[in-house]
């Protein structure tokens, strides 16, 4: 997409690698946290407080974005492994989806911060 003389894979591979680390290290904690929400609203509020306050949520959504790119990179390659002849269309769709999800996170975060300041 960007370079004709060589593969752009380093970009996606970089994101995939970072995402992989996040999934391996951070995701277990987060999943455990969400599973703990049944106890009480207070937990929810507390969880909400963490992931909705501007600074921590900025960290949180960047983790989620990295996980998104990691997951969709794997989806792209697994399609290839399942003998689907992936072309530029698949590339656009899959990585476009990743960009979309990332954008959604950022927009939500922006709105939350925007609403709160004004």
């Amino acid at each position: 997409m960007f370079r004709k003389d060589r593969s752009d894979e380093p970009i996606y591979w970089g994101l995939f690698g970072a995402g992989g680390m996040v999934v391996a290290i951070a995701l277990p904690v987060i999943i455990l946290a969400t599973m703990g929400l049944t106890h009480s609203l207070t937990d929810t509020v507390m969880f909400g407080e963490i992931i909705l306050s501007p600074l921590p949520s900025l960290v949180f959504i960047s983790l989620m974005i990295l996980c998104t790119w990691h997951a969709l990179h794997r989806v792209y390659h697994t399609l290839h492994d399942l003998n689907v002849h992936v072309g530029t269309l698949h590339h656009l769709v899959i990585y476009g989806l990743a960009a979309l999800i990332s954008l959604a996170f950022i927009v939500c975060w922006a709105i939350l911060v925007f609403k709160n300041i004004f």
């Binding site: 593969s7 894979e9 380093p10 970089g14 290839h80």
Partner: protein, 248 residues
């Protein structure tokens, strides 16, 4: 009385057969008998037309790669004692066209080895040492590429690699390992030249790190590691090239 084992070999004779067919044999073996010795005894006593490649019988020449129960192995380093009580199914090396019986067409693999410029390219502006002098290379510098220089070109990693099965354009484990071996040799200056091949989609970027090539490599060369190191180098190269002006 030596034990017996049933060995089923996939046959294929281009003149007579439309497609491969199976032929089974019964072979006696002792603790030391290798599959290669068994195949040779079959050829000598039971089926002289059976054809396969072999030479050194000590796992160093790389001729006798074949599939044993679906796993790519060197026949000379596969022992019947490890298959006692089972059947052995012998097929030609996977992911290569079958020329005849257990002989495959390795020319794509050999051509790839030659395409990557597998020779020392002196560093620019640095002349090679004189006739009676050697490059100084400390054991630490040697260790950086030593493991990757042990590849015997048997093609087993190509048979093990699903990416090569799906896309024959992929340079493949051994060729990428050989590139890394020369790029990391302290005497070589040809890295920039070879990275052009590494950076392609058919270079390191076709590898999804299944890791089975390193699992099957009979000489412990670990091509999967060479490819990951290659990815790191290629990613660095990508970054650097971003800042370098286009015109350079």
């Amino acid at each position: 009385m030596a034990d017996k084992i049933k060995i089923t070999v996939q046959r294929y004779r281009p003149e007579q057969d439309r497609e491969p067919w199976d032929q089974s044999f019964e072979v006696e073996y002792t603790r030391e008998t290798s599959l290669l010795e068994a195949l040779n005894s079959i050829k000598d006593t039971q089926e002289p037309t059976l054809s396969f490649r072999w030479s050194c019988r000590m796992a160093i020449c790389g001729s006798c790669g074949m599939m044993v129960n679906g796993v790519p192995k060197l026949a000379c380093k596969t022992f019947l004692r490890d298959y006692a009580g089972q059947e052995m199914r012998i097929e030609p090396l996977a992911n290569f066209p079958v020329e005849r019986d257990l002989v495959v067409d390795l020319s794509d693999f050999i051509e790839k080895l030659e395409r990557i410029k597998p020779y020392i390219i002196p560093k620019k502006g640095e002349s090679q040492p004189g006739e009676q002098r050697e490059y100084i290379q400390t054991p630490a510098q040697l260790e950086k590429y030593r493991q990757f220089s042990m590849c015997i070109n048997c093609g087993i990693c190509y048979a093990a690699c699903p990416q090569y099965k799906l896309n024959k354009e992929f340079l493949g484990p051994a060729a990428l390992t050989l590139i890394y071996r020369y790029n990391e040799d302290s005497r070589d200056g040809g890295k920039e030249e070879r990275m052009k091949l590494v950076n392609q989609d058919t270079g390191v970027w076709s590898c999804s790190f299944v890791g089975y090539c390193s699992e099957c490599c009979p000489k412990g060369v670990d091509p999967a590691s060479a490819i990951q190191l290659g990815k790191v180098e290629s990613a660095k190269d990508y970054l650097i090239s971003m800042f370098k002006k286009k015109g350079e």
